[in-house]
Structure formats: structure tokens, C-alpha cells
């Protein structure tokens, strides 16, 4: 996908819930509805004006088959709408919608995802995504698998427990400005020796994401429609997702070649491209941020997870979509010209999606007349 061809679709609106440990007894659709209202209100569109709807969620979180069909009540699915669903993070639903818009079959798409982790025991539920022959019978929980990855990274000397504590502290401090985050501020002192007790050595409490209930929604629009719906579209310059071997023992857990490859194909490293101002990384565990920074070649000039990231709120199935939404929101607010968003799925960063987002022209004016022409010629 070249920059020009891929530049025709933009994120024009983003909304999310206030993520919390357990929503107050609301059903999925009750949790989702205010988010859908919010995202549509930002564009002035009604549900009937959306060409394509795509969602991401998991029956294993809800414990019920076809649980996503109930959430469809929230988008006004009758009379029948053009709709699709992925049983993974909403970032992959956004990928499907992006492709749909690129084909020209739709001008607008509503993408949403949600997860109520509070219904079950999340680390145990996530064991069910594992290889049923060699892994699932051992019930290796998600925290333990992340701990194996963290130990491997510490062993290489690529990071230290102190650096990981610093990532936790920076993320939660950044979340102080994010009203939707679950863990905001906090007491982690990056300069003090790690004081939290080990949860799963080498992981300490601060290395873990919170368990969250939450939802998110994004509206995508193509070309001229995007300009009509927002003054500052966040153009998707490229997006790709790649997967690695499933078995954690068959991979080098300290590297993420799938992220690197997806980033290459998404145009992140294009020669002459402007610097990356913001990176929103779906790294639920601190050490994974180190792996991803390396894979994405992020330097000091890039602000990583200014929203607080998944260490501040981790609604499973929505946390990846939120990364794209947060990155786009920085562009929409004129705070960034170029941003990269990352989403992950599977154990220990097995599968990774990378999206590169850019503003029209400069972030200073960002007007519709400046920079991009209709059809999305690159600035």
C-alpha cells in the first residue's frame, strides 16, 4: 500500500468510556451506548447515515456465545445494516473497516469494541486463547506468560527493573490528565528502588495493567467526507498487521519482528517522512514497551503513551482500538503531526498491528485547504 493510495481514509472521531474495574452492573450494550452516542455526536451523523459498522469483542469475556449480537442493539441495526464483527481487539475491526473504505464500497464506518473483564477471571480466561495441545492444558495465565517475557528481556540487559518501574510511573503520571483512565497519578517513584512486592517475579504490581471494563468507538471517513465531518482529519497513511509463531518457546521474546514488519508496511520508516510526535503502544506490561520501542525505532523525540496507555486502563478488546483513537485525537487536537498507533493480540505480543496517522500539512494551521488535496496526496 503506497502512501498516496492509503491516504484517503481518516479517523474523524473517537470516544471511549470511563474505564473502571467493574461497571455498575450494566450490560454490554448499556456500557457501550453512551460511547456510541458520543462518537456520533462528534460527527453529527446518526446511526442510519453510517455505511459500514464493524465491532470487536470476545465471547470468552462475556461467557456467552454470540454476545456481540446484543451490542448491535446499540447501533440501530434494524432495518438491516452492513455489519461485521471480529473476535479480537477492535483495532482489527478498524483494519477491516479501513479496507472496506479503501475499496470505495463505503464512505463512512463506525468501529467499536468493548470488554467487560469483570464478568470472569481475566488471566484465566486468556489461557483459552492458547494452543489447546501444548499450552492450554497447563493453564498458563497471561501474567505468568508476560513474566517469562520480562525475565527474558532482563536477562539480555536491554532493560532493568528500575527502568520498568520508570515506565509504570511515567504512564500513570501521564494518565493524570486523562479523565477516562482507571489508574491515574499513583505513587510509583522512578528514582527509588522498586518497592512493590513481586506479583509474579520478575513482575511487580506496577508492571501489570489494571483489569478494566470499558468500550471505545471510532468513526472513519473517506476523502471529502472526512473533511466535511471534521476540521482536522487524522489520515491513516498506512496500516498493517503481522503475526509470529504461537509457541512462546519458538520465538525470541525479547524482539518483535512482526511489529517491525507491520511498521515497515505501514510506512513508518518511509524515507523523508516527518518525525513521529506521538506513539500509542498497546503494551499492557512494562517490558513490552521496551520491546515495542525497539521494534518501532522510537527515539527521545517521540512521546510514548501520553494517554497513560494500557498500564492506566486496559479494557481487553478495546485497548488496541483506544491506541488508534488516542493517537488520532492528538492529531485532531493539533498536538501532533505524525503519530503511530500499535495494537497487540495473543500471548507475549504474538500478533501486532501498526497504524501511521498524519495531519494535513502542518499542525499549526491544519486547515482543510492546506496540505492534502482531495484523494489524499501526501503533504
Amino acid at each position: 500500500m503506497t502512501r498516496t493510495e492509503a491516504g484517503q481514509v481518516a479517523v474523524v472521531a473517537f470516544a471511549q468510556s470511563r474505564h473502571e474495574r467493574a461497571t455498575d452492573g450494566s450490560s454490554e450494550v448499556e456500557m457501550l451506548l453512551p460511547v456510541l452516542r458520543d462518537v456520533l455526536d462528534r460527527t453529527g451523523l446518526s446511526t442510519g447515515q453510517i455505511d459500514f459498522t464493524c465491532s470487536g469483542s470476545s465471547d470468552y469475556l462475556a461467557g456467552r456465545p454470540f454476545s456481540f449480537t446484543m451490542a448491535l442493539d446499540g447501533v440501530g441495526a434494524w432495518p438491516p445494516i452492513a455489519e461485521s464483527h471480529v473476535e479480537t481487539d477492535g483495532a482489527w475491526a478498524l483494519y477491516e473497516a479501513w479496507v472496506k473504505l479503501l475499496t470505495g464500497e463505503a464512505e463512512t464506518a463506525l468501529v467499536y469494541s468493548y470488554g467487560k473483564s469483570s464478568a470472569g477471571d481475566l488471566p484465566e480466561v486468556l489461557t483459552r486463547q492458547l494452543d489447546p495441545y501444548y499450552l492450554a492444558p497447563l493453564w498458563p495465565d497471561s501474567v505468568s506468560l508476560a513474566a517469562l517475557q520480562t525475565r527474558a528481556l532482563l536477562d539480555t540487559g536491554a532493560t532493568s527493573e528500575r527502568e520498568l518501574a520508570g515506565i509504570a510511573a511515567r504512564s500513570r503520571a501521564a494518565a493524570a490528565d486523562n479523565p477516562y483512565a482507571q489508574l491515574r497519578g499513583g505513587s510509583v517513584d522512578a528514582d527509588a528502588p522498586p518497592a512493590d512486592a513481586y506479583v509474579a517475579q520478575p513482575l511487580r504490581r506496577h508492571d501489570l495493567p489494571p483489569v478494566s471494563d470499558g468500550a471505545a468507538a471510532v468513526v472513519l471517513a473517506a476523502g471529502r467526507t472526512a473533511r466535511r465531518l471534521t476540521a482536522r482529519p487524522a489520515w491513516i497513511r498506512g496500516m498493517d498487521h503481522r503475526i509470529e509463531a504461537h509457541s512462546p518457546g519458538a520465538r525470541d521474546l525479547t524482539r518483535s519482528p512482526s511489529t517491525r514488519l507491520a511498521a515497515e508496511h505501514a510506512g513508518l520508516f518511509d524515507p523523508g517522512a516527518p518525525p513521529v510526535d506521538v506513539a500509542e503502544l498497546h503494551a499492557p506490561f512494562t517490558a513490552q514497551e521496551v520491546v515495542l520501542r525497539n521494534a518501532l525505532r522510537l527515539g527521545e523525540e517521540t512521546a510514548v503513551n501520553p494517554s497513560g496507555g494500557p498500564l492506566a486502563a486496559n479494557p481487553v478488546m478495546a485497548a488496541g482500538l483506544i491506541r488508534i483513537g488516542e493517537a488520532a485525537a492528538r492529531i485532531t487536537r493539533g498536538e501532533a503531526r505524525r503519530a503511530v498507533a500499535h495494537a497487540t493480540s495473543g500471548p507475549c505480543l504474538q500478533q501486532n498491528l501498526v497504524a501511521v496517522l498524519e495531519s494535513d500539512g502542518s499542525a499549526e494551521d491544519g486547515s482543510a485547504e492546506d496540505g492534502l488535496t482531495e484523494g489524499g496526496e501526501g503533504a
Binding site: R128, P137, W139, A147, D155, L203
Partner: protein, 317 residues
């Protein structure tokens, strides 16, 4: 606001899975205290073995026997084992590269001296389960081994044939949930407990949903205004059930129908009794019959009123 209802919910799903030739050989081998790997196209020995090359996706079938001692490549301490995990007392998760293998296998390491006794690079060996069935759990766990270097040389080829090979596994799983139907259905269920039926009206299209789910699927907006409907209603359509469902304590034949309660914008379904099956008809007026302590109507019976005119329910079919 009412307290939202919750209830424990257990989901159990014993999947029966077949094995390909490589997985069958590997799991049967475990039953026979033999650990097999497969040689990938680049010559690497993959343990646990896959049916297909991890890089090229070509079929791989060349089996080798690897050692039962290996080296820890990474580890994590598990101080609070969960249900189903290999050991009930605190243990280390380890990735172990068995002698002769080029990839690592995930399992538990029994380390009674605690996390201070575990390190990357330590030597460990297989502890076999007493009863072995042809499953990854035939390895009970690993245990510390003397710090001898791995033996030199490449692993020997193995035919992968055993008497009575394992051809499938039953992967049992159980997950525990706390289910909440949400606010709208809680209101509905609480009203039903008082033998009243409450729907919710869409603020935009004015349709009354029974049972309510919190949103209007046509308008995509929240429903909030509660509307009591019924108790009587009209049969909009029905069927005669002649096959007894497993575990259902109702004699066949019986009638199952769609019933539009008076004031409701759509029909709900329920059993219709107190009338011979062949006399149930569209337009029949019915009312709920409650049993002692029941949270739902047990069934609906004729009210004796004249039938409703088709015009009154044709939009509710």
C-alpha cells in the same frame, strides 16, 4: 436505582480434538516416557513439535528423540498457583530447551527452595506423571538437575511409532463468571417477580420493548421509560411441539406461541395451555398463569374474550 441482579455462571466445554501424525507421535511418546521433536526445513529441532514448519509452513515429518534434561531459557515465579496448573504449591514457570532441541517447551519447574533457587541457564529434567494418557500433562513438571553440560551431538532419528497411538485428546475447560443481565433486564426481572410485566419505551420511535434490553435496535438509543404492559395479550403466531426436549418436564404435544401483550411493541414467546392444541389460533386472547414462587409465567391460558382482529396485531407478527 434497583440493585442489579447477578448470578454465578459456569461454562464448561470439553473439546474433543484430533491429532495429526506429529502431535500423535509426540503425545504418545510422552505416554511412553519419550520426548520427540521434529526437524524443521532449516535443520532446527522443534520441541514441542509442530505439524508444519514454523517459517516455511511446509509439512515436517522427520522425528528425532531429544533429551529429558534441558536448560531453562527464561522463568517466572508463580507464588499462587491457579486451578488446573501443573503444581498446587508455588512453582516456577519455565521455558526449557531440552538437550538436542532448538526451541523451548513451556512447563512448570518444581523448585521447593523458592525463587532464589531458580535461574536462567539452570539444568532441569523431566519428572514424569505417575499415570500417563498421551497429553502434555504426562510431564508432571520439571525438577532441578545437576549442572552438567548438555551431551554433544545431534539427536537421533525416531520412527515415531508406538503401540496403540493416541489419536485425540479431550481438552476439558471450565471458566467461572458472575453474570449480570444489566440494568434494564434487572428492572424487568424484578417486576416479573411481582407478577407484573414492564417494558421500556424508545424515546424516539415510541416502541415499547418487552423484554427490554436497554436500547432500541432501530434507533440505537437508550430506552429508559418503563411501561407496564399486559397482563393479557394476543397470540400472533404459534406452533405445536411434538418432540419432547431433553430435560423438559412438559408432556407433548404442547403449543408454543408468540404473544403480544397489550401495550407491547413486539411479541414475546411462551407456552399456551388450558385449550386443546388444535383450537389454538392467531388472535386468541390469553393471560399469564403464575405458579407459586415462579419468576416467569408458567404458561398462558385463554381469557375467554373474543379473538382480536387481525388489524390490531398484524404489525407485531
Amino acid at each position: 436505582m434497583d440493585d442489579v441482579l447477578t448470578a454465578p455462571m459456569v461454562v464448561e466445554f470439553p473439546f474433543t480434538r484430533s491429532l495429526g501424525p506429529v502431535l500423535s507421535a509426540f503425545l504418545t511418546g510422552l505416554r511412553e516416557r519419550t520426548v520427540l521433536g521434529v526437524t524443521a526445513t532449516d535443520g532446527r529441532v522443534v520441541v514441542p513439535p509442530t505439524e508444519y514448519d514454523p517459517v516455511t509452513a511446509e509439512e515436517v515429518r522427520d522425528l528425532v528423540e531429544v533429551g529429558q534434561t534441558g536448560t531453562v531459557t527464561t522463568w517466572a515465579w508463580n507464588g499462587a498457583p491457579r486451578r488446573g496448573q501443573p503444581l498446587a504449591h508455588p512453582f516456577a514457570w519455565v521455558l526449557v530447551r531440552l538437550d538436542g532441541a532448538d526451541t523451548a517447551l513451556l512447563h512448570a519447574l518444581d523448585a521447593p527452595e523458592g525463587p532464589g533457587s531458580v535461574s536462567t541457564g539452570m539444568r532441569v529434567r523431566v519428572r514424569w506423571a505417575q499415570e500417563r494418557t498421551g497429553a502434555i500433562t504426562d510431564i508432571a513438571c520439571f525438577e532441578p538437575a545437576p549442572h552438567d553440560p548438555p551431551p554433544p551431538g545431534r539427536p537421533a532419528a525416531h520412527p515415531g511409532t508406538f503401540p496403540e497411538p493416541v489419536t485425540g485428546i479431550v481438552a476439558a475447560a471450565r471458566l467461572d463468571y458472575t453474570y449480570s443481565p444489566g440494568r434494564a433486564q434487572t428492572r424487568y426481572l424484578n417486576a416479573l417477580a411481582e407478577h407484573r410485566t414492564k417494558g421500556e419505551r424508545c424515546p424516539r420511535c415510541r416502541k415499547v420493548y418487552v423484554p427490554p434490553r436497554g436500547a432500541c435496535p432501530t434507533c440505537g438509543v437508550a430506552t429508559g421509560e418503563q411501561v407496564e404492559v399486559g397482563p393479557a395479550g394476543t397470540v400472533t403466531t404459534f406452533c405445536v411441539v411434538n418432540i419432547k426436549a431433553k430435560g423438559l418436564d412438559i408432556d407433548v404435544p404442547y403449543v408454543y406461541g408468540h404473544i403480544a401483550l397489550d401495550g407491547a411493541g413486539l411479541a414475546l414467546h411462551g407456552r399456551i395451555a388450558g385449550i386443546p392444541c388444535d383450537q389454538v389460533r392467531m388472535g386468541l386472547r390469553v393471560e399469564p398463569v403464575w405458579t407459586e414462587g415462579g419468576r416467569h409465567p408458567d404458561h398462558y391460558r385463554p381469557t375467554g374474550e373474543p379473538d382480536a382482529a387481525y388489524e390490531t396485531y398484524k404489525e407485531l407478527l
